[in-house]
């Protein structure tokens, strides 16, 4: 109940913001009868209406995980974001091994097993992508290898 209501409310507000920013779209002299604003505004309006349906007629509450699981999910997101930033400057092998090990540990908490999984996934995927599929992955950071 509450989840649907909260989501509906957030979605409705976002839809309103979307409509407002759609009205700000600049039109150029090369215009057609519809123009670049109308379709986004229609979408925003329909989105807002359906979001209000969620607020007033919510479905039964889904099963949310406990706080500790949420913390684990949050950690996973942080790790993935860090991975996205690390991939270019730090090369492929090290970040991939670390991130894969952490994810593996989060699914099944066995430290040694997770470490082995991380390292072997990193090396195995690197070999497959670099040599079998010919992708231009960089193994180590350039400043390290020179």
């Amino acid at each position: 109940m509450t989840s649907d209501r909260i989501f509906g409310l957030v979605a409705a507000l976002l839809a309103l913001a979307y409509i407002v920013s759609a009205t700000q779209i600049q039109t150029s002299f090369l215009s057609d009868p519809v123009g670049p604003k109308v379709f986004p505004i229609i979408i925003g309006v329909i989105g807002a209406i359906s979001a209000m349906f969620l607020v007033f007629r919510p479905d039964p509450e889904p099963q949310w995980p406990v706080a500790r699981t949420f913390a684990a999910l949050g950690l996973a997101v942080i790790v993935l974001v860090a991975y996205a930033y690390a991939l270019k400057p730090l090369g492929f092998l090290v970040p991939t091994a670390v991130v894969a090990a952490i994810l593996s540990y989060q699914i099944s908490p066995r430290a040694r097993y997770a470490a082995i999984t991380g390292v072997s996934l990193s090396v195995g995927l690197f070999l497959i992508f670099r040599f079998a599929l010919g992708l231009g992955l960089v193994a180590f950071p350039r400043w390290l290898v020179g």
Partner: protein, 501 residues
């Protein structure tokens, strides 16, 4: 006779050693992807698309490879349904109802062979249906102008929302999220940036591959972290396999009926393979009556959903190839592949690039025989694959997703967007909001707006032009009916949650 000429062109391409090899690799990968819980046809195909793109395959090869994966995944899904009581992918959900009880009764081998054969019948009949129906529909599609296309896109969203979801408002909201995201970027007609918030990375728009991999693959990882992979319990052991001739013979009419039901369900835009297997199972159950013991491990209860699911997989290709409107989540992903390869599906594809279409159809026919071989005599190999623990599989899937998306653009921004879509996918699925309309919105949003604007240019701004032809009016009526009618049929069509294909 035109059909025979086309087919021989198709087979001349499909039987070339290279294409044949790709089809076999695709079938093998697909069956594994289907069998592994946590990897289904849509996220399996999604993470492979960036890779095929970077491999530099030409259009026909890429399409043959990916549709073989798609067909293979539909076959493979049943393996974990039967042995673990966990559907390997969404459409295989109905197979657990009779497949697992039969395996518990010590007939796991029979259940696997029977369902493999039913998959073969369903998929082969559907491929033949595709071969006959698609060229006809492509000819009709020549009559479509912008007004008709606009109505058709609307129909896809409406039937998807109406039939594939339990709550219309949630499906509509999901479509709007997708369409709204599709609007971001430089407007094609006026050349002005829209809704980018001044972020230069967004001027090109949001790449649909990023969204697809995020919503399907990354979100799945979050679900596994939440459950600690506990769903992958140890199931029934497979002792020996032999062919249950009697069961196959006794279920012959069930196979044919379920294939027909599944094929039709697959053609409907937005219905998809899950609905195909659901409808096939339900109709067989009502034909058989209460005394037939559906749900206790009867042969017909295994055959019906598998034939239906694979027939729907073939049927879903019909609207995707002829009209550019996908019939399911996975065909939406295949449409993304076509768009990445710069192929515009539709009637012109049949006229201008016959080698793509007929090479694909011939490859699918061959793929079916390959899959029958892999899934009946060689099924034990794939049973072993099920023993890969999620603590290795899911990190692997994440890493492959990252490499795939990274190799497309080499920018960290796309990776961040992908993680964002993963979080969105997690929340949406928790709230039982379907994610397929989001994908469809991102894929079709640009085309839908283009159709509307071109129609208005032709009509000089007169809105009634949208309803000016019988085809357009018919599509509007179907769209509205497809959205509204399921509200009154909730009792009949109530589907289990989490069906997303």
């Amino acid at each position: 006779m035109e059909l025979l000429a086309n087919l021989s062109l198709g087979f001349s391409i499909a039987l070339s050693p290279y294409t044949l090899m790709l089809a076999i690799i695709g079938c093998f990968l697909g069956t594994i992807i289907g069998a592994l819980p946590g990897l289904g046809p849509s996220n399996g195909v999604a993470i492979l698309i960036p890779l095929t793109f970077t491999l530099g395959l030409d259009a026909t090869s890429a399409l043959v490879l990916m549709t073989s994966v798609y067909y293979g995944a539909m076959y493979g899904g049943r393996i974990s349904s039967i042995l673990l009581n966990i559907p390997g992918d969404e459409p295989a959900l109905m197979t657990t109802l009779d497949g697992y009880p039969m395996a518990q009764a010590g007939r796991a081998g029979d259940a696997l062979v029977l369902s493999g054969f039913a998959s073969f019948v369903g998929a082969t009949l559907a491929t033949i249906g595709l071969m006959l129906l698609a060229p006809m529909l492509a000819r009709v599609a020549y009559l479509f102008g912008p007004a008709e296309y606009f109505a058709l896109y609307l129909l896809a969203f409406c039937t998807l929302g109406g039939m594939a979801s339990n709550n219309q408002a949630k499906a509509a909201l999901a479509s709007c999220i997708g369409l709204g995201i599709a609007m971001i970027g430089v407007d094609n007609t006026s050349g002005m940036p829209r809704l980018t918030g001044g972020n230069l990375h967004l001027y090109d728009g949001v790449d649909f591959l990023v969204a697809i991999v995020g919503l399907f693959a990354v979100a799945e990882v979050f679900f596994f972290i939440e459950t600690h992979g506990k769903n992958s319990s140890i199931g029934v052991k497979l002792e020996k396999t032999r062919i249950p001739w009697r069961d196959i013979y006794e279920t012959r009419w069930t196979m044919l009926r379920s294939s027909a039901v599944g094929f039709i369900a697959g053609i409907l835009p937005g219905a998809g393979a899950s609905l195909g297997s659901f409808l096939a199972y339900m109709s067989e159950k009502s034909i058989a009556g209460n005394n037939a013991g559906f749900g206790t491990g009867v042969a017909r209860g295994i055959v019906a959903p598998e034939a239906g699911n694979n027939a729907a997989a073939g049927g879903a290709l019909v609207p995707m190839l002829t009209l550019g409107v996908p019939g399911s989540g996975t065909t939406a992903v295949l449409l993304a592949l076509l768009m990445t390869l710069n192929i515009t599906p539709g009637p012109t594809l049949f006229a201008d690039r016959p080698e793509v279409i007929w090479g694909l159809i011939a490859s699918l026919l061959i793929a079916n025989f390959v899959l029958l071989l892999m899934n009946v005599p060689m099924v034990k190999i794939f049973v072993r694959v099920l023993q890969v623990p999620p603590a290795i599989l899911l990190p692997g899937v994440t890493m492959i997703s990252f490499i795939g998306i990274y190799s497309l653009s080499g920018s960290y921004f796309d990776l961040l967007l992908m993680i964002l879509f993963g979080m969105l996918g997690y929340v949406l699925r928790k709230l039982d909001i379907p994610t397929v309309p989001v994908i469809l919105g991102i894929l079709l949003g640009g085309n839908m707006e283009d159709a509307l604007r071109r129609a208005m240019v032709i009509a000089d701004g007169d809105g009634w032009y949208l309803f000016s032809s019988p085809i357009a009016i018919g599509l509007w009526i179907f769209a509205i009916a497809g959205f509204v009618a399921p509200m009154f049929m909730r009792g009949l069509l109530q589907k289990p949650q989490r069906i997303t294909d």
